[in-house]
């Protein structure tokens, strides 16, 4: 795993440098929004990585409850933390981009609002883990909460979308992908790939931490037994 992480890190470094080149030099500047539109190339991939992370959390939570393999539980925990980090990026870059582009920091648009609720759900997940400790009960609780939270996401999205269509508002986010120039599309796709690598790199690093933590617990137990 160590070697994997190293190679992935190297790939990430090269990818990220190329990514910045594609974003700032290769892709043309958007006509109406100007240069701030460049935030888009980090905003969207971050959202993508966050959803992937939360999907992994739900998947391994189910797997943990079925198989009771603690490695699955550790994957869920690590992925939730990374997902919250990516969601935070989305929620901060969103308003910074929206302000100059549409002259408003925040709009209660379904995607943005769902992302905010998602952030709250997984912050709750992390707080829950913090308050239950590392025993098997904490793992079970977290897994159950993750499953309920994940099923909730589409319902949150649809209810907010319905709410916004009843109260009409100027369309702010309309046609994001529709008018994308080929060069911009390429830069976006490349950035998506780089963020995918970034996610897996962070996951591996974070899992290494979990392994160390498990080792410490094992050793403590062994020493406690010795002293008895």
């Amino acid at each position: 795993m160590e070697r994997w992480t190293k190679w992935l890190g190297l790939l990430l470094l090269v990818g990220m440098i190329l990514n910045l080149y594609f974003i700032f030099i290769y892709a043309p500047i958007e006509k109406t929004m100007g240069i701030v539109q460049k935030i888009f190339y980090f905003h969207v991939p971050s959202a993508f990585a966050a959803f992937l992370a939360f999907f992994v959390v739900a998947l391994f939570s189910v797997a943990f409850l079925m198989k009771r393999n603690y490695f699955y539980d550790r994957i869920s925990y690590a992925s939730a933390e990374i997902g919250v980090m990516f969601t935070t990026i989305v929620l901060v870059t969103g308003p910074i981009w929206a302000k100059p582009a549409w002259n408003t920091w925040w709009s209660w648009d379904p995607r943005l609002t769902t992302t905010l609720i998602l952030w709250f759900i997984y912050i709750g997940y992390l707080v829950l883990r913090d308050f239950t400790g590392e025993d098997e009960r904490g793992a079970r609780f977290a897994a159950v909460f993750a499953i309920v939270g994940f099923v909730d996401v589409p319902i949150v999205y649809f209810s907010i979308r319905w709410w916004r269509t009843i109260h009409p508002q100027p369309v702010l986010m309309g046609g994001e992908g529709s008018g994308l120039a080929p060069k911009m599309l390429f830069a976006l796709m490349f950035s998506l790939a780089v963020f995918l690598i970034l996610y897996f790199y962070l996951l591996l690093t974070r899992l290494r931490l979990e392994k160390a933590r498990m080792d410490v617990n094992e050793m403590k137990k062994a020493i406690a037994l010795q002293e008895q």
Partner: protein, 225 residues
């Protein structure tokens, strides 16, 4: 005893306990009344804002008082050592969940029905034509809230922070319920077209069905020991 009988027996146990001690419902009700009264201070009496904010205020009162009730739901079981007895009794975990959930739904509905008249009086609302529709919304939203709330309450009671944990877990997940309930109530107040109210009721129904099923299925993992 058949399965339904077992579920009802557990709900009846909670109701009997509450009837004798009267701690939970009294607290919930006072709290709910307080919320409605305090929010009245934010407007000039009789201003049109009051009418627009009314649905939001009533659901804040309902959800926060409901939270109090849900928190008590497992705390008294654990503190008095009843929960182990309940787990040892010859019923499966799903029946315990449904029984506790029905108990919570009844507590919340009682408090809501008693708060409603005060609310109608203070905000000078005309609900008489829509009382039945309003009741449907209240019951559906309460089911959704209690379905998730009962499961999370069983989780929260076993953590270090207990009372603080439940709202942090519950509120983000029940956003669709609160959103639908507030907007459906608002639609009724504005006497909007019935189809608009019905669209919200559909979301509430979907939430209820999905989450009663999921929470019923996952409850056994929460109370494994």
């Amino acid at each position: 005893m058949n399965y339904l009988g077992k579920i009802l027996a557990i709900a009846y146990k909670d109701l009997l306990h509450e009837y004798r001690s009267r701690e939970t419902i009294t607290t919930m009700m006072i709290f709910s009344f307080l919320v409605v009264v305090i929010f009245n201070f934010t407007f000039d009496p009789g201003s049109s804002y009051a009418l627009e904010a009314a649905p939001g205020i009533i659901w804040v009162a309902f959800t926060f008082s409901g939270m109090l009730g849900l928190n008590r739901s497992f705390i008294y079981e654990i503190d008095k050592g009843c929960f182990h007895g309940l787990l040892l009794s010859p019923v499966d975990r799903g029946a315990i969940y449904l029984g506790k959930m029905i108990g919570n739904i009844i507590f919340m509905t009682i408090v809501e029905l008693l708060t409603l008249p005060l609310f109608i009086v203070l905000f000078n609302l005309q609900f008489s034509n829509y009382l039945l529709q309003l009741l449907v919304i209240i019951v559906l939203a309460t089911i959704g809230f209690a379905a998730v709330g009962t499961l999370f309450s069983a989780i929260a009671v076993n953590t270090k922070a207990r009372e603080i944990m439940l709202p942090i877990l519950l509120f983000p997940v029940v956003v669709p319920v609160i959103l639908s309930a507030v907007n459906a109530t608002g639609s009724l107040l504005r006497s909007d077209d019935w189809s608009q109210v019905f669209a919200w009721i559909r979301i509430l129904l979907a939430f209820d069905v999905i989450f009663v099923a999921i929470c019923y299925a996952t409850f056994e993992y929460v109370v494994e020991e």
